[in-house]
Symmetry: C2
């Protein structure tokens, strides 16, 4: 690791680039070097806060030209859940935090696009669109801190993917500082552009390992003028899955959210926050659904009510609550959004962000629950998530199986293996929306073929031969 005089010399060069006020070390750097769940907290040489693309490029050049090269960890809102911004213990690294790059570079109402610097927060991006009577649809729990650059680097998801897609689908163009310090200017504002390899897809979802996204062109949509939120209760998860199929066939793109909440998840939220249960049957499987339409359309509610009545008549559903006003709609969403917070109150627990084909959701939940129960009688899966995308947060609480969280967490590896084995069996993914980072990196050889891992390494080695760009994330270096 770098000795003190060298370190001072290098930091001076960084300060020359960004100014003394925009470089933090030691104690001041801690909020940036420690992650959300406090799994990672190794110190970096410094946290640097550039203001312009040119400064980012200059910093990358400084790190690349240093002997030995300094690792660069790009950072947005530091809200990631898999250690994508973790500082490595065995390499000199800087955190390159883009939160000062907050400019709205362009907004084009007729083209339905906006061009933003990477440090704009997701919430600011939403508000920018809203100010022009348009919608930027990505919606996440951490949107007040998460940045556009981070959302792109992790291909963020959330609750509106069903209708509008992941962050990858919402991006038309990028500006990227490459590991060489060159700037790739790809701020394309076109819907259609078949002129060679579409390079933006290299960087979206690459978690900062191939370059630093400094700006992006994002798609905008007509803002819905009417929204209807409802809660559905079914006797089984199969009833919820069947309702999804029926409702999506009827409403297509107007069905903008379909979130599943297991009986254990709603019981947990009600118990922790002392809220009354939504349905008289406390063991109901619940779905929160949202219909949206670009213009007020009275017939939409009527159509929904008719369809839900039929689903009750044929016993697919037990019960239905239609939000009568915005307040009630917010209450329904609050139930869904407080599941993580409720879990946090009960102490550490085991989290899985998985996806399976939508057709496999019912057998996956049933079989995985059974497998876990056979191994740990009384264990409590808390299952919820974006069912319309096949994406479940399949979390595990103690239940009657463990007296303490510590006892549960001691079995984490074993429980992960059981869940991931089922995921793989159903052709699913062990990371639907959170990414790989450092946390899941060592699982990659077990879920990817040698051919695929080799292609990923070839990409990494080609574009980052010095291995300076967020090294050791996603895949190990050879």
């Amino acid at each position: 690791m770098m000795h003190s005089p060298h370190r001072t010399h290098f930091l001076k060069a960084l300060i020359t680039c960004v100014g003394e006020a925009h470089l933090l070390t030691d104690e001041a750097a801690k909020p940036f070097t420690q992650d959300e769940r406090n799994r990672y907290h190794h110190p970096a040489l410094a946290v640097v806060f550039p203001k312009t693309t040119e400064q980012v490029a200059r910093i990358v050049q400084l790190c690349a030209n240093h002997q030995p090269p300094i690792a660069i960890i790009p950072q947005g809102g530091n809200t990631g859940l898999v250690g994508g911004c973790a500082v490595l213990t065995h390499r000199d690294s800087i955190l390159l935090n883009l939160s000062r790059m907050q400019q709205v570079l362009d907004i084009d109402r007729d083209n339905r696009t906006m061009t933003l610097q990477a440090g704009v927060t997701l919430e600011q991006a939403q508000q920018t669109a809203e100010a022009h009577q348009l919608l930027f649809p990505l919606t996440l729990a951490s949107q007040n801190a998460a940045t556009i650059g981070g959302n792109l680097a992790t291909n963020a998801g959330g609750t509106q993917v069903l209708r509008y897609g992941n962050m990858r689908d919402l991006c038309l163009g990028l500006e990227v500082v490459l590991p060489t310090g060159e700037v790739w200017q790809g701020l394309n504002r076109l819907r259609k552009n078949n002129t060679g390899y579409d390079l933006k897809h290299l960087f979206i979802g690459a978690e900062g390992t191939l370059g630093i996204i400094t700006a992006a062109v994002l798609k905008l949509f007509p803002a819905p003028q009417q929204t209807q939120v409802a809660m559905l209760a079914a006797p089984s998860v199969a009833g919820i899955a069947r309702s999804f199929d029926v409702l999506q066939r009827q409403f297509d793109a107007q069905l903008t959210a379909f979130e599943y909440i297991s009986p254990s998840a709603s019981q947990l939220v009600c118990a922790q926050f002392n809220w009354p249960p939504l349905f008289s049957n406390h063991n109901a499987h619940v779905a929160l659904i949202e219909l949206s339409h670009a213009q007020p359309d009275a017939s939409l509610n009527e159509q929904l009510q008719n369809q839900l009545s039929q689903l009750i008549d044929n016993q697919t559903l037990d019960d239905v609550l239609m939000a009568q006003n915005l307040n009630q709609a917010n209450n329904f969403w609050r139930m869904r959004e407080h599941i993580s917070a409720a879990q946090k109150r009960t102490g550490p627990n085991i989290k899985h962000d998985i996806s399976v084909p939508i057709s496999a959701i019912v057998p996956f939940i049933e079989q995985t629950t059974l497998t876990l129960e056979q191994a740990y009688s009384g264990i409590q899966p808390i299952v919820f998530g974006h069912m319309g995308d096949g994406n479940l947060h399949f979390n595990i609480s103690c239940g009657r199986a463990f007296a303490t969280s510590e006892q549960l967490m001691a079995r984490e590896r074993d429980i992960n293996n059981m869940v991931y084995e089922k995921v793989t069996q159903f052709g699913g993914s062990i990371s639907a929306e959170h990414g790989i980072g450092l946390l899941k990196r060592d699982l990659m050889p077990s879920i990817k073929s040698a051919v695929e891992l080799n292609m990923m390494r070839q990409l990494k080695n080609t574009f980052d031969p010095l291995n300076i760009m967020n090294p050791e994330k996603i895949i190990t270096h050879n």
Copy 2:
């Protein structure tokens, strides 16, 4: 080039792999070595028709291991318009035609996906979806011959992109035979999967230069149960553009097509096919629009009629025709779809498949037309296309400027330069949906930065170091 005994030896090896009936040479090969517009027609060593992925891999190995290596040109329906399947004059090449690989590998109604071999035609793919009451939305003029593999390799577009996206957006997973002969098995059926670099995007739109797509997982959608087609007439292209903005804000995803037809284009079609004009004003700018809904909804037509009446009242539009039945709707589409055929009847003409930001369509058309008129007084642009995507087919006929097509075509390079200069000035693309192939390859240095070209070359050299996979397409080798 290969001498006869070597040639015979190599062809024998190929025959051992696919069987004698599935290899064509000389005269029999001509329908495959000659492209749609007969721009390219150099003979290949052979056209080979494998049936399985294993055969494709074996063929690639044979070509890679040959001294010197044999170039491989992957081919689907041979409907491309930019010489993507052109046989090079200076290298021994085989055409690897995937049309025998026609298996439907999987269809999953609840997951809204189907898995197809690459040689399935687009029309067969549409019909497969339809048989399961689902929609595969990609729609192209050449769909009876064009294949899924070719559609993916060229990131095909068409008339439904506005709602459903390009082929890239419709693909969840791929199986690809790499230039090494290895098979990348990436037939992912998931909507969300953030586990490292999303490798399928390397191959989609790469025109077969990085590997051979042998199978794909495609997204399906609820099949619309109601469709409303209408023709709009406006005094100017600005009126058409304004109508697009208003209608998309009102109908959002229900607006599934928005096609522009210039006055010259509708006049040409009516004259060539002896059809009566749609509107009394022969100089009207026309849009063909389509609204779709997943379920019958009587209010949709009413809403559309109300909105169009307002657009007439405020003089954005002059006139409107609503299709009263399927027959009328088909007639409207026929007008749009016969523009290319009408142009073909008048002899060779100059074609441009360009895109600009939607907000730039009006000034782009106006200024480009003016520039051309100033250079060639009386020249006739025939403009039409997918206006809702910013994609125009900006074609050029003789008009009064040239007595013969030959005289027009003699100025092709000059006219291309004028059009592409305007495209570039408005931040547009010189190939919105047809790709680069051989035809537009030499324009790449003028439209891409050195940084971008270098990244493309790095990708090509990394994955195809022998330069055997559709070489010299998109970009030249070094």
